[in-house]
Amino acid sequence: MNPDVAAAVEYLREEGVLTASQAHLFARVARRELVSLRLEIRAALYAGVLLLTGGIALFVNENRDRIGPAAIGGAIGLVAAACLFWALRRSVPFTWQTAAATHAAFDYVLLLGALLVATDLAYLETQVRLLGPAWPWHLLVVAAFYLLLAYRFDSKMLLSLALASFAAWRGIAVSLTKTSLGAGDPMRLRIEALACGALFVVVGVTAARRRRKAHFEDVYVNAGLLLVFGGLLSGVFGGRGDRWGAWLLALLLVTVAVAAVAFRAKRTLPFALAVVTAYLGLLRPIFEIRGSEALPLFLAAALAALALFFIVFARRRMRIP
């Protein structure tokens, strides 16, 4: 029960601000006479999808020699097709605008179907070796498949996975736990990250301008900026032979540009990403200072304080909550 809201509802009803029917509903919720289990249902569905995909993956791994690729591939394909067919039956017709989900389980059944198709593709590729040495191209196929589903079913979840799969195809690890961009030549990965990121940002901005799934813009732009900033930071914190000064200059130019655009467009997340990235980048020259051990720490602290004042000032000027 929320006694403060319950009391306010009663007061607002007496004052005529709320109608009797509004007050009745709001008071029921505040007094816990009506409780939503939406979050619990969604959490159970997501956990169920995780367990199912984990179980199927384990089954394939343990039984691939005994059962054979055709049976395993066929079985996974059937389950995936059933999930996607269910999603298709439940979905609203394609629209370039936002399409509301018609069922609480819609997102998760769709996710399960998409993940199973990707699993099936990966499994068959390891067994049949259709692409041979060019097997990483199956990541591009998976990315295209996720993208297709994302647009058809208006799913930001699948769009995020499509972008991550595309980046993986280019060799970039999209992981919260790994601090590197991936394995291989760092310079090549930086260029790949910058190119991928720029591509995502351009697609996102174009989508918004042309009003073609304009609400996908934030996914494209935020994913793109993460890659661009990750690539630039990787350059700044690279070895001494990596010309970190040039990378820092590029990083500062890009972050200032992004912060300015985000400030004008009142977009909080890109602005925050730009500020944090610029701060992290500037730590490199500060910690290059030799002679005093305490001085770099003082300077870094002063820079953090400066960034703090900057964001307080920017938030006030942006006039958004």
Binding site: M1, D4, V17, F59, W169
Partner: protein, 392 residues
């Protein structure tokens, strides 16, 4: 907690509820404006991202300054605790000043400074016990836990933070575990904590943030009892192992194991039943978590089938159960049954769905393709690339 802060919190509760009503289309703009006029914003409340950003930079500045001071002053190990106490006092005063200012209270800086204030205090206590008083390890740890319990409980009482109350509860249970009958104390104190704080969850005289703290304590009480009665925890002496290394702990006796088996089976059902009866979702959520833990415990002792079969069946069962519950609730009169509904009511679903993207990408994003070195001949790669993780 100051009376002005409590009053501000009450207004913020009403404003947050009104925003939910407006978002769901239950009130029009005119009504919302009127509610906002009658309940004016007492303290500016920036969006969570701004608060996070502020907390990040406050943390960076504080830690870097502390590091700089320590390097510049090179304090003796004996004087380091006092320097930490001084820093702690500065942080706590800074937090208090921010909390007292309506313009600064909710910007994220107050939370960060108070957090580091307590952390510096505890670091100071640790060094003081270890280096100045030379207290032996077991006694020192007990005293440190006492200090943590006191500091976090005071902070939760003063600033109404569920984070601090969580740290206080953890310190409390760790402290109890150090007693000779730690497991029994976990059960007794867990039950007492749950019963005491369940009584104040709806108390009007309590500040909204204190009611949230009480809810957190109910959850910790339940989890403490469950951890003490769980069969796996008993067999592996998980509670007793918190007393420290080198202590001889006897194996669990047969009657204890019987009681633990009953507890592991019954407690989740009891918590779920209480959650349904009281219509408190946080109790239901706790019940769901301990039910999952009990099922994992069952699987550990009883090999029902292969791991893949258990996972697949559990996943399918969970999905079907959720779908059935959704269907049952949706088909009730006015889409509700016994006061429960599957509709989001006034929750911000768009924000929830946006937040879901992070765990989905973290769990299902494929591994990056490996670097192709000159002369490398691809062999088909590892299985599980497209969204299925690195390998099976």
């Amino acid at each position: 907690m100051k009376s002005e802060w409590v009053a501000a919190e009450r207004v913020e509760e009403v404003r947050a509820a009104a925003e939910g009503w407006k978002r769901a289309g239950a009130v029009d703009s005119g009504t919302f404006e009127e509610i906002s006029r009658r309940y004016p914003e007492p303290r500016p409340l920036p969006a969570p991202l701004w608060r996070l950003l502020t907390a990040f930079f406050v943390t960076a500045a504080l830690l870097l300054l502390t590091g700089a001071f320590f390097i510049a002053l090179h304090p003796e190990i004996g004087t380091a605790p006092f320097l930490l106490f001084l820093l702690s006092a500065v942080c706590v005063v800074a937090a208090e000043v921010q909390e007292r200012s309506p313009a600064l209270a909710l910007r994220g800086g107050a939370g960060a400074t108070s957090f580091w204030g307590i952390a510096f205090f505890l670091a100071g206590v640790f060094l003081f016990l270890e280096e100045t008083l030379r207290v032996r390890e077991r006694g020192g740890m007990t005293l440190l836990l006492f200090a943590a319990l006191a500091a976090y409980a005071l902070a939760a009482w003063r600033w109404g933070s569920a984070v601090y109350v969580s740290f206080a509860a953890i310190s409390f249970f760790l402290l109890l575990a150090r007693a000779p009958s730690g497991r029994l104390l976990w059960i007794a104190c867990g039950v007492a904590m749950t019963l005491v704080f369940a009584r104040v969850l709806d108390r009007t005289s309590w500040a909204p943030s204190h009611r949230v703290c009480a809810a957190a304590l109910v959850v910790y009480g339940l989890l403490g009892v469950y951890a003490a009665v769980n069969l796996y925890a008993l067999d592996h002496r998980l509670v007793e192992s918190l007393r420290g290394a080198g202590l001889d702990v006897p194996e669990a006796r047969f009657p204890e194991r019987i009681l633990a088996i009953v507890g592991t089976a019954v407690l989740p059902v009891a918590i779920l039943w209480w959650g349904v009866r009281s219509r408190r979702t946080f109790v239901l959520d706790t019940g769901m978590v301990v039910t999952a833990l009990s099922l994992i415990t069952l699987r550990h002792y009883v090999h029902i089938g292969a791991a893949w079969l258990v996972l697949t069946l559990a996943g399918a069962a969970l999905v079907l159960l959720a779908l059935a519950l959704n269907r049952w609730l949706s088909r009730g009169p006015e889409e509700e049954r016994d006061g429960f509904t599957a509709e989001p009511i006034f929750a911000d679903e768009a924000r929830l769905r946006a937040l879901e993207l992070v765990p989905v990408v973290a769990a299902h994003a494929p591994e990056a393709r490996p670097a192709v070195e000159p002369g490398f001949q691809g062999g088909g790669g590892s299985f599980g690339g497209g969204g299925a993780g690195g390998s099976f």
